[in-house]
Symmetry: C2
Subunit: 261 residues, 2 copies
């Protein structure tokens, strides 16, 4: 989900399809669970069920990494965990900086999944001077002025933006200028970044709207009638409802934002 200005050709780095990369963490999670139960091997069928995917798809995904299975037996769990971890770059340490320590930012800082798998919260940044120095999840919050310093000192290449939408682009620019090349964006805005910088978007509002769409479809097919409402009626309803919509809209574009695409 790179949202850059220029079109990025679905980064198939070294031949591994983007869709496959997106599923590797899923496999890894399932494999880790098996590993903890000391299960030595799994078949593609079993693992696929655990990961919630098709077994043929899983086998094809693994085939991009190499031939790590044994026919008639399945895959060695420990070995596969290692291979996928290495492929995802999880065998190294990834210092991360979180900008915007509001409700969401604090939740992220406290997120346990952060610490595991090689991700380490190197710094917390917030523009509010009242927060400066206060520890969140055991890490003292630093002021925005220290952003560049924090990024450079820790060799941070991954930044998380959890600020209000209005500040997101500016924060993004500063992160990128300081050397960050991957951004996880929770602010409800489209970020413009130069080539070579990856952006992934997480937007709760969008997720809910998509669910609402399907919910509406499920709830009433009888509403399909006024979908094809005549032009005259549509024009009539236009002003009335447009006002109504924007009226109770609230400050949507300014909330801290929450989720993925």
């Amino acid at each position: 989900m790179a949202t850059g200005r220029t079109h990025r050709p679905a980064t198939r780095s070294r031949g591994i399809p983007e869709a496959t990369v997106a599923r590797l963490p899923l496999y890894l999670r399932a494999l880790t669970a098996l590993s903890e139960r000391s299960v030595p091997t799994v078949s593609s069928e079993e693992l696929a069920a655990a990961a919630g995917v098709n077994s043929a798809k899983l086998r094809k995904d693994f085939s991009y990494l190499g031939s790590y299975g044994t026919r008639g037996v399945g895959y060695d769990v420990e070995y596969l965990v290692y291979q996928i971890s290495r492929e995802l770059g999880l065998t190294q340490d990834w210092p991360v900086v979180i900008v915007g320590i509001g409700n969401l930012g604090a939740a992220l800082a406290n997120y346990g999944g952060f610490a595991s798998r090689g991700f380490r919260v190197a710094a917390l940044i917030d523009a509010d001077p009242a927060l400066t120095g206060k520890p969140v999840a055991g890490i003292p919050v630093r002021h925005s002025d220290d952003l560049e310093q924090a990024v450079r000192d820790n060799g941070v290449s991954i930044g998380v933006i959890a600020t209000p939408a209005g500040a997101a682009q500016q924060v993004c620019d500063r992160l990128v200028a300081a050397g960050v090349t991957s951004i996880l964006n929770f602010a409800p805005t489209v970020l413009n970044v130069p080539d070579g910088v990856d952006v992934r978007k997480v937007d709760l509002s969008i997720e809910l709207q998509i669910l609402a769409f399907h919910e509406q479809r499920k709830a009433g097919e009888e509403a399909a009638a006024d979908t094809a409402l005549p032009a005259a009626a549509a024009a009539a309803v236009r002003e009335q409802s447009a006002d109504q919509v924007s009226a109770d809209q609230g400050p949507d574009g300014d909330v801290p934002a929450v989720m993925p695409a």
Copy 2:
């Protein structure tokens, strides 16, 4: 991102492609911003730039909704806001229940974007008796025992799961049994749901891992050398690194979880 057991054929309800539905909220956000600035019309080119997509794609997306543009002029902003809102089902009220009021659940409850666009937090649920009755974002937390009651009384059809992974499936089952047919899942688990129930997954850990993958690619192509490491060396490194990986893994599968797929 329906993660059900059975394969769901990419729900193209009434002919609107899933990919288009996922972009509609993006357009809506851009249009709302224009509306607030009292801009009367936009061309597909301008709007596409604001939403960060290709203009041809945007036009095709809109063509699925109908012919709402005027050639030589563009699209009427207010009218389009209304049409998209209606298509997404945002003209009606959507009561939502949030289960699991930890760091993340609380952040979600406080999320401003919730209130706008027709989403209303109808109830907060948590298993911890210590939280029961305490207000979060102005809404008193109710105990898990009240889950079914809360869903039924409010006519909730959308549920948000922000519990630890271990509790997610059980909570999911109860939500579904109580009548919920759309679920936004923040727990790092694959949820099994019956047909007709939509699940969207939001998983911070996965997003970070995907970023790490690309980051690794960017950082070193010289590491490509040991990618094709000989079988012997691979086998040797196997145990060592496998142990290492699972050792500093931490309780990953149990954290409250955070994001999308």
